[in-house]
């Protein structure tokens, strides 16, 4: 008979395992472990276990040891664990509950009640895990949709600038790679992969303020006059102000990165950038990273007013400070990423 669910029975006494196996064999596939270490190995190599019946007192790793391992790996949240005990050892049972055990099975086993109790809880966990999966999928879809909307917005702004929309994607990719390298090399700039992902997603909005720049300036083929350049520089502040009006456009932490990147991605390490003339690490590292990515992409892309530079030439120009000075650590990381 096909059985969808699997139950793990952990007890050092074979008789107890056989009795439990007999009670559950009609409804479950049965796995057995005779000590804690074997149990941990089976749990970690069987992602589909529906429940664990766990003896507390065993030689080697005991029942509480198994619970600790399941708590560490997070399995305790999705697999119900029933403690098997032959006595009232309150302290151990309380510790078991604290570690995430769901219920206690007392010896001698009461077969009929045991079946019902375990089936009910397995069913409940099944529903809960299914719901959690659905919610997780929906959150992922919503996030994806949200990110798509943000990219559409950023791309729409770019189209005015005669760009294809590939620029924002390239910036996001480069930001992720460079931020990861910087984080890996320098403990002071360490960020988790999750945060780096948020920074990369935020980077697409760096030029959103260009929506406020008149076409005559934004798409001017020739050199900008000093007055026009001052207006152009305003895209950083305008982008920041624009985002400030929509705090709910993205989640809180991503929002902070987006605002910083919009405002500070033209700041320079020596304080000669704009709009706030921040210096050194006054400029958030995520905005510094986007600056380098933005400059590199601008150099290697074709624009109405210039031909693209080669990769080598662009790297040289960035290193030589021809596009303003950058954090030396950032340059090192950038060179490591783009050898040759």
């Amino acid at each position: 008979m096909y059985k969808e669910k699997t139950i793990l029975i952990v007890d050092d006494m074979e008789i107890n395992r056989i009795i439990l196996a007999e009670i559950f064999k009609d409804n479950y596939n049965i796995l057995q472990a005779c000590d804690g270490d074997q149990a941990i190995e089976i749990i970690n190599s069987n992602p589909d276990i529906s429940a664990v019946l766990l003896d507390l007192i065993m030689p080697g790793t005991d029942g509480l040891g198994v619970l600790r391992d399941m708590k560490k790996s997070g399995r305790i949240a999705i697999v119900p664990v029933f403690l098997i005990t032959a006595e009232e050892n309150e302290k151990t049972l309380i510790e078991g509950y604290h570690l995430g055990a769901v219920d206690v099975i007392r010896k001698p086993f009461m077969a009929h009640f045991l079946k019902h109790r375990i089936n009910n809880i397995v069913e409940l966990y099944g529903h809960r895990n299914d719901l959690a999966k659905i919610v997780e999928e929906q959150v992922a879809r919503l996030n994806h949709l949200n990110q798509s909307m943000i990219e559409i917005l950023a791309t729409a702004v770019e189209f005015r600038d005669c760009e294809s929309g590939e620029h924002v994607k390239r910036i996001a990719g480069m930001t992720k790679a460079l931020m990861t390298e910087v984080s890996k090399r320098y403990p002071e700039y360490y960020m988790t992969a999750d945060e780096i992902d948020k920074i990369s997603k935020s980077s697409v909005l760096h030029d959103i303020g260009k929506i406020s720049i008149p076409d005559s300036i934004l798409t001017k083929p020739g050199k900008l006059t000093p007055e026009e350049y001052e207006i152009m520089k305003q895209h950083t502040v305008k982008g920041y102000e624009f985002l400030m009006q929509f705090p709910n456009i993205i989640d809180e932490s991503t929002y902070k990165y987006s605002c910083d990147i919009c405002r500070y991605h033209h700041e320079r390490w020596d304080g000669r950038g704009y709009p706030d003339k921040l210096k050194g690490d006054e400029i958030p590292i995520w905005a510094q990273v986007v600056s380098v990515a933005d400059v590199y992409d601008a150099l290697t892309a074709e624009r109405v007013y210039k031909k693209p530079f080669s990769h080598e030439k662009a790297v040289d120009m960035i290193k030589n400070g021809e596009c303003g000075l950058f954090n030396p650590k950032l340059i090192e990381a950038f060179e490591a990423l783009t050898p040759g």
Binding site: M13, I15, N16, I18, I19, E22, N89, K107, P108, A111
Partner: protein, 117 residues
């Protein structure tokens, strides 16, 4: 008398034990054989050290568990008392109980061995 009648006579709740196994008498019989092996393996000597008996608690606890599950009631009750006394640091009282139940235990294991061999 067959094995089950004799065990019932010795105080074992055979019908309770069999019903725990969904009525599987053959399996119950097989587990009785395993029980005898375990009892020998977990042998507790009456003169155990009264200052160091952690291992004795573990053994008594294990026997209590399997005796309970096979409904070998006299041994389940006896070992439950032994565990309880030992956990309360009363090894002498535990020994008194052990003295009383060892003859019962020997009778039950002898009966099972006689019928299974």
């Amino acid at each position: 008398m067959d094995l089950f009648d004799e065990l019932t006579h010795l105080g074992v709740d055979v019908s309770g034990g069999v019903s725990r196994l969904g009525g599987n008498k053959a399996l119950y019989k097989r587990l009785l054989g395993s029980f005898v092996k375990s009892i020998k393996e977990y042998d507790i000597q009456i003169d155990f050290d009264e200052n160091d008996y952690d291992e004795i608690i573990k053994k008594a606890h294990a026997i209590k568990g399997i005796a309970g599950n096979l409904s070998i009631t006299p041994l389940y009750d006896g070992y439950a008392q032994i565990v309880s006394f030992l956990r309360n640091a009363e090894p002498r009282n535990a020994k008194e109980v052990l003295k009383k139940i060892l003859p019962v235990q020997n009778e039950i294991t002898a009966c099972i061995e006689k019928h299974l061999n």
